[in-house]
């Protein structure tokens, strides 16, 4: 069963066709990777899926409902959460508080309940904190709960951002270059974490440049070039695809 179904998605910035008529689907419980050379439209596609920018045309079906053109917070409520290529943690807040914000859609205390500190909102707060701590230990960063998020090591910040997205309990997790800037050991750990997350039943769509990571953990790969899909299949099939070899290595060396 496909969880995400992208059909004929297009986005144009002035004269540039950033994403042109892209179609693909993501199966429930799979890790699907989105690769392509720089400027292929991967991040634009992510921004379209998460509602940061609206598509010019095409449709995105998620869990049986059309979500194209929705606001990011509505898409998050539907069950898609994401991380960012350039880490976007909340500054002046502890690592734990960052994860607690990820629990926003699973709690409901509003302005009045917050100001009056009503008993039920206090209880809710405790549950949120407890759940956030559980997520931190799942990711192995529980020791840093009280640390200011931005004073964590870079690799830990990547993991924290992953945890924040995970705290939303998404059905689909969009990871935008989760291994960017990580060393080999950290990349291997990140790969393990992503597989571990998939094993809990979360579907993952990942944009990544690190081929060792992509080839190791993905069930399927979509290759984009100049905003268009040129291949879609298992890692083995994609690696052998002449079109993919051409865009990655150049025509001469084929």
């Amino acid at each position: 069963m496909s969880l995400l179904e992208v059909r004929g998605l297009c986005k144009r910035f002035g004269g540039l066709q950033a994403v042109g008529n892209v179609c693909f689907s993501v199966q429930q419980g799979h890790i699907k990777a989105l690769i392509g050379p720089n400027g292929a439209g991967k991040t634009t596609l992510f921004n379209l899926l998460s509602g940061v920018i609206p598509p010019d045309s095409g449709s995105v079906q998620f869990d049986g409902a059309d979500i194209q053109g929705m606001q990011p917070f509505q898409i998050a409520e539907k069950g898609i959460s994401r991380t960012f290529q350039h880490i976007r943690l909340f500054t002046h807040m502890t690592a734990l508080e960052n994860i607690m914000i990820g629990r926003h859609i699973h709690s409901r205390a509003g302005f009045l309940a917050g100001m009056l500190n009503l008993p039920w909102s206090g209880k809710e707060q405790k549950i949120v904190r407890q759940r956030a701590l559980e997520i931190m230990s799942f990711l192995g960063i529980a020791d840093h709960a009280g640390t200011d998020a931005t004073s964590l090591a870079y690799g830990q910040q990547r993991v924290l951002e992953l945890g924040r997205a995970l705290a939303c309990e998404p059905k689909l997790l969009l990871l935008d270059e989760p291994a960017a800037g990580l060393n080999m050991r950290e990349t291997a750990e990140m790969a393990k974490l992503i597989s571990k997350i998939r094993d809990t039943g979360v579907t993952v769509l990942i944009v990544e440049h690190d081929m060792s990571l992509v080839m190791n953990i993905s069930d399927e790969i979509v290759v984009l070039s100049y905003g268009e899909k040129i291949a879609d299949g298992t890692p083995l099939a994609v690696q052998k695809d002449p079109e993919v070899i051409k865009v990655y290595l150049g025509e001469e060396e084929c």
């Binding site: 998460s50 940061v52 606001q71 990011p72 917070f73 998050a76 409520e77 959460s81 994401r82 960012f84 976007r88 943690l89 909340f90 500054t91 002046h92 807040m93 508080e97 607690m100 914000i101 990820g102 926003h104 859609i105 709690s107 409901r108 205390a109 509003g110 302005f111 309940a113 917050g114 100001m115 009056l116 500190n117 909102s121 809710e124 707060q125 949120v128 924040r164 939303c168």
Partner: protein
């Protein structure tokens, strides 16, 4: 957890009592008058601190909301409905108990709105205006938002200055006292000076309790996340537009309540309360208080407003606050009284050390 949240409030209450006892012991009861006024201005400050410091949305128009609160309640509490006594709507109003009979300065009978009715109407009008203008202008960011709120403040100033119903340049006066509850009356009578000091600061303590609860709640975290990374907050499922609007309205209500109470306390309100320099003053105090630091803003507001009301700054009053704002923006754009401040000298030295190495 509980102790840490209530400890500063408790210390604050003790401070309030000490200041009162000290003022009386030093035979300077007149200080309590300015301290009472400072209390009402503090309501504006702490509300604005939530908006600027925590949610990261600037407003240079909050004197406008203060004035809306003050003027609406002053107008309703003094506008004589006696000539319209026979009309149907006046009859309905007086049957519902919203109107009260009183006497004006010359002893003639007048029929005006009860201060409670006037206060609620003032808050309702403020909320309505804040929602209507907040919707579109909170889509703006940074200095565009600053300019838009500045424009709003200017409009309110010009309206109160140019409307004869609001007393034009003279403002409104002879505002009756506001009996909040039996035995609790906001008024400028010197016999009620200590009484009023405690009412004012009691309201501030209540406001601080509500807002510090809010900061530590789910909403508080959402607001701080909007300040820090609005797009990421939105991606976490936070309806950023609605949260920004709600905190804007909440801070406007705090400003309006400050206006309502101060107007009843002073017995009048003038257009200077709506002036841009008042708005600049509020922003300057929030900035010097450390932006996202409710207690810092409150304490700086207490000190600076009191000094200003006592006339320490003489005719340079507005200039002092303007200069404070400039200095803060130049040297500490994230605010002066911050936790990070303590680490600042360290950083200074460490960066120098690195330079030397290089």
């Amino acid at each position: 957890m509980l102790r840490s949240r209530f400890a500063p409030l408790l210390a604050f209450v003790v401070l309030i009592v000490c200041v009162q006892l000290l003022a009386v012991a030093a035979d300077k009861p007149q200080y309590l008058t300015q301290l009472t006024m400072t209390g009402y201005y503090s309501l504006v400050i702490i509300g604005l601190c939530m908006l600027i410091g925590y949610a990261g949305q600037i407003s240079i128009g909050h004197a406008g909301f203060f004035a809306i609160g003050g003027y609406v309640s002053a107008f309703l509490a003094t506008y004589n409905l006696m000539p319209h006594k026979e009309k149907a709507f006046t009859g309905i109003l007086s049957k519902t108990g919203l109107l009260v009979q009183a006497q004006d300065l010359y002893g003639a009978d007048i029929l005006v709105f009860h201060p409670w009715a006037a206060c609620i109407a003032a808050v309702a009008v403020t909320m309505l205006i804040a929602y209507v203008i907040g919707g579109p202008i909170l889509k703006l960011k940074g200095h565009y938002l600053a300019m838009a709120t500045l424009g709003f403040g200017t409009i309110i100033y010009k309206i109160v200055l140019g409307t004869s119903l609001f007393g034009a340049a003279d403002g409104l006066s002879d505002i009756p006292g506001f009996r909040i509850l039996p035995g609790l009356e906001v008024s400028g009578k010197s016999s009620l000076r200590i009484h009023n000091y405690y009412i004012a600061w009691g309201i501030v303590v209540l406001g601080m309790l509500l807002l510090s609860n809010l900061i530590n709640s789910r909403v508080g975290r959402a607001l701080r996340s909007i300040h820090s990374a609005e797009d990421a907050a939105n991606a976490m499922g936070i309806n950023t537009a609605r949260y920004k609007l709600n905190i804007f309205v909440l801070s406007a209500v705090f400003a309006a309540l400050g206006g309502v109470f101060l107007t009843h306390y002073n017995g009048g309100i003038g257009p200077s309360e709506a002036s841009i320099m008042k708005s600049v003053r509020y922003v300057a105090i929030v900035a010097i208080g450390g932006m996202a630091n409710l207690w810092g803003a409150l304490s700086m507001g207490l000190i600076l407003n009191f000094m200003s009301l006592r006339g320490y700054f003489g005719s340079y009053d507005d200039a002092v606050f303007g200069i404070i704002l400039i200095i803060i923006m130049l040297f500490a754009p994230e605010g002066l009284l911050r936790r990070e401040l303590l680490q600042w000298p360290k950083k200074l030295f460490s960066s120098k050390a690195e330079e030397k190495k290089a």
